[in-house]
Amino acid sequence: MRPARRSALALGGGLLAALAAPRLLLANGPEVIGMRGTARGEHVWFAPVGLAVAPGTTLRFVNDDAGNSHTATAYHPAILDRPRRIPRGAEPWDSGFLLPGESFEATLTVPGVYDYHCQPHEFGGMVGRIVVGTPGTPGWQPASREPGDIPPEALAAFPPVGAILRAGRLHREDMA
């Protein structure tokens, strides 16, 4: 009982801190990003679609969608020969297909803007953006403006970096 209660209190404190100061970027994760969809798959998305974290934060992508499989795949020439939209020198990641309930972790160390997508849902606009550090972090690299072969549905879905930094966690309903 005691340990459980302690961790519940610790979690509550963490949530309060996050709400009070989303821009402090203190947590090193894992920060959870859900892969979601409506029951019949009309819409699919990452939740949150935009996330600001401190360098060294571990992300955990979790497929919360009972009826679909998803990937979290960095835009990078080393993966499916896509345009590079993560900082130079950063390690690209690809979860592979995650079935419902499965998850994948990646740790982002190089400061800057990381764009990623879900392979079967790129044309459905299922992309996400992670901002590691802030423009004031030494070595920070801004968002790529390289569209390459990325479809317009995906390009339109990346949240602005400023909005992510202001919100900390930005959900698709915040972007309307």
Binding site: G37, G41, E42, V44, A66, G67, N68, L99, H121, G124
Partner: protein
């Protein structure tokens, strides 16, 4: 993306000799037998998808199908078609498609953003074969 390309080329090669689903007794209970294969064996999808059940398809008929949808007891409950919106817009027609069973109690048509196997936005056209089919497939 790889898998879709593989499936599409398989469809191109096999298209000429594909059998058409047409209310055959062998289809009423899973497994439907050749040339049908379970979708979850072809692409990374769950064995049972809430709303669509266990899907089987002849790869030669991708992407449109028919996909045969079985409930948890293996009973044929729906026939499903998946038609990419972009292809329709560009003039592709999906005509003369097979149907799992002739009795159709209701039809649902809705948008799907994509999934492995048909990884572009498309329409799902779902023909339910009896009154209870929708409820059985939902779970």
């Amino acid at each position: 993306m790889f898998r879709k390309i593989a499936l599409v080329s398989a469809a191109t090669m096999l298209g000429a000799c594909a059998a058409v689903a047409h209310d055959e007794p062998a289809l009423m209970q899973a497994p439907p037998g050749a040339p049908y294969q379970q979708v979850s064996e072809l692409v990374p999808l769950p064995d049972y998808i809430p709303g669509l059940g266990a899907l089987w398809v002849d790869p030669a008929t991708l992407p449109a199908g028919p996909f045969l949808a079985y409930d948890r007891d293996g009973r044929l409950s729906a026939t499903v078609y998946m038609t990419p919106l972009e292809a329709l817009r560009n003039g592709t027609a999906y005509d003369g498609l097979g149907i799992g069973a002739h009795n159709v109690s209701s039809v649902d048509v809705y948008h799907n953003a994509g999934h492995p196997g048909v990884d572009v936005p498309h329409a799902h056209v779902v023909l339910f074969h009896d009154e209870g089919a929708r409820a059985r497939l939902a779970e």
